[in-house]
Amino acid sequence: MQPGSAPKIEFVDEGVRLTGSWTLSCLRKCLPRLRAETTRTSSDTRWDLSRLSALDTYGALLLWRHWGSRFPADIQLPPEYKALFERLEKRPPDKLMRRPRRRFRMGVEDIGLAAMVFVGHVYAAIALLGQLIIETGYILRSPRHIPWREISANLYKAGVRAMPVSALVAFLIGVVLSYLFALQLRRFGAEAFIVDVLGVGIIRELGPVLIAVLVAGRSGSAMTAQLGTMRVTEEIDALATMGVPRHLRLVLPKVVALALAMPLLVTWTSGIAIAGGVLVAHYQLGIDYPFFIANLPRAVPVPNVWIALSKGLVFGMTIALVACHFGLRVKPNTESLSANTTRSVVTAITLVILLDAVFALATRNIGLVGG
């Protein structure tokens, strides 16, 4: 089967003679020509295959299809090629080879299925939350089972390791916002109000949401992928076999760690963003650093800080819960792992923004100067 001679059809006096190697790699170069030449044969043509130097499944298939799935009446076929055609005959009849059509469902059925999936998610999420409350009750009664090591590890991974990237993003956002505000405020001669705009905007709103989106993308996806991989490799089952409660060891530490880390990260991000803003305010508007710092408490009353910190707490727990919820739903294949990781991040970010709207409504009378 050397990659060799080109496949050819030779028309001899009473029929055709095939020569060369009729294999996939050799046929590809002269396929259109051969297809055209085979159409010049008729049903009573004599076929001579004895001079072929090679024939593979594709070569055989090409001839077989041309012959209409049966041997021509007059054929010279060397015995070694017979098996090839016999294998072709073994394939199922045409109508069994058809790809099953996707069933188009009625709209109503679609809505029902989507609703059931949604209810399933809500049910599983409530079950997860309930399980966590039970576990919390358990460790409060027997504190020696508190998974300190896991909590500390998660705190480090999701909190400390997130500090550089969040600092960078926060600083740049602070710089950009301050620059835009400075341009607008200068038109009204209201330069001093940069303190109010930046302070309320960043501390109350932007800081918590910004870091929540970052953490959802960074730590939420990592948590889902970790739990998902552990499902794929049966590690979670191994834990359960050893009598280790998975919610206590895998879910609770993540929720607690993010609940602790997020308020701290909110403080860190808002601080850096304000610092970026102050820097630009100084160079664009000529506002002194001491003036800015002294006026910040006046512009942003203390309740705003409490709102920001509680937002951090709630967002953190939400992200961890969503991540664990989707991580535990992963089925043991790669497709499911990637799909659930995507869903985890999208759901976490959507929920964070929804919750932020709820916060805005609930706290609309708290901590706003001149409101």
């Binding site: 996939l24 790699s25 593979d56 299809r65 294998r87 199922p92 089925k331 790669t334 497709e335």
Partner: protein, 257 residues
């Protein structure tokens, strides 16, 4: 006829550690060569080397009489298409169903009409005894034995001359393993294949191999028919083949011939 695979002075190093050194091996057309050895001795590494997944640290491999990595992009691609590999876990694309998995290498060629691809895929599936209604299932819905057979069909999709098998019977029950060995043997004679396979399983070894290469101590200790290998004086070979368990398996293999 020249050797299909010719390995000369091959050495592979991962970091400071030599996995294989000064390996020489020739595989003739039509052979069924088994690579055996203890766990982690470099059998699979050698196999991956032959497929071209790893670059050798020293020495080289001639495939089909040409240096393995010679030529331009198209030449290398054509050479790669002349061999098929069955991975240990099957390595089916989990996003594609059985049909699309086997059709994948055919579609990659880019000149076959869909009707011919369909006929070829179902011919290959029939060869490995996968029924037509399993063609639309996803890999996650298949049993271990079926995954191996579908993966074999995919490896054979382009009618390769050389077939490489990594642990073809690992993870199959004895019955399925026996059937799989029979299938490979039947395809070997029917398709004029050259087969190189890695195995731990002495049943598979004695039922399938026409020649055996023992890999140990970073080199190939001995090559030859199983009957001769068994009598080579070397502590590793004696431990491997002449233990009670092994003798038992080899006897069974003899009977099945």
């Amino acid at each position: 006829m020249s050797a299909l695979i010719e390995i000369r002075g091959l050495g592979i190093r991962f970091g400071p550690r030599w996995i294989l050194r000064r390996v020489d091996l020739e595989v003739a057309r039509g052979e069924l060569l088994a690579l055996v050895g203890g766990s982690g001795c470099g059998k699979t590494t050698l196999l991956r080397q032959i497929v071209g997944l790893l670059l050798p640290t020293e020495g080289g491999i001639q495939l089909f009489g040409e240096p393995q990595h010679a030529g331009d992009r198209d030449t290398r691609q054509d050479r790669q298409r002349r061999l098929g590999m069955l991975f240990q876990q099957g390595a089916l694309f989990s996003a594609l169903n059985v049909f699309d998995n086997v059709a994948f290498p055919l579609r990659e060629l880019g000149f076959l009409p869909e009707a011919e691809i369909r006929d070829l895929v179902f011919t290959k599936l029939a060869m490995v005894e996968i029924s037509h209604d399993a063609a639309w299932r996803m890999p996650a819905e298949l049993s271990g034995g079926m995954i191996k057979r579908v993966a074999l069909a995919r490896a054979l999709a382009l009618d390769p001359e050389l077939l490489l098998l990594d642990e073809p019977t690992a993870g199959l029950d004895p019955d399925r393993a026996g059937a799989f060995v029979e299938l490979i043997r039947a395809l070997h004679s029917a398709l004029n294949l050259t087969v190189v396979f890695v195995t731990h399983d002495l049943d598979t070894l004695s039922a399938l191999a026409s020649r055996v290469a023992v890999v140990a101590e970073r080199r190939i200790l001995a090559v030859g028919p199983l009957d001769q290998i068994v009598h080579v004086q070397h502590p590793f070979i004696e431990r491997f083949f002449l233990s009670e368990r092994s003798l038992h398996a080899l006897r069974r293999g003899k009977q099945s011939d």
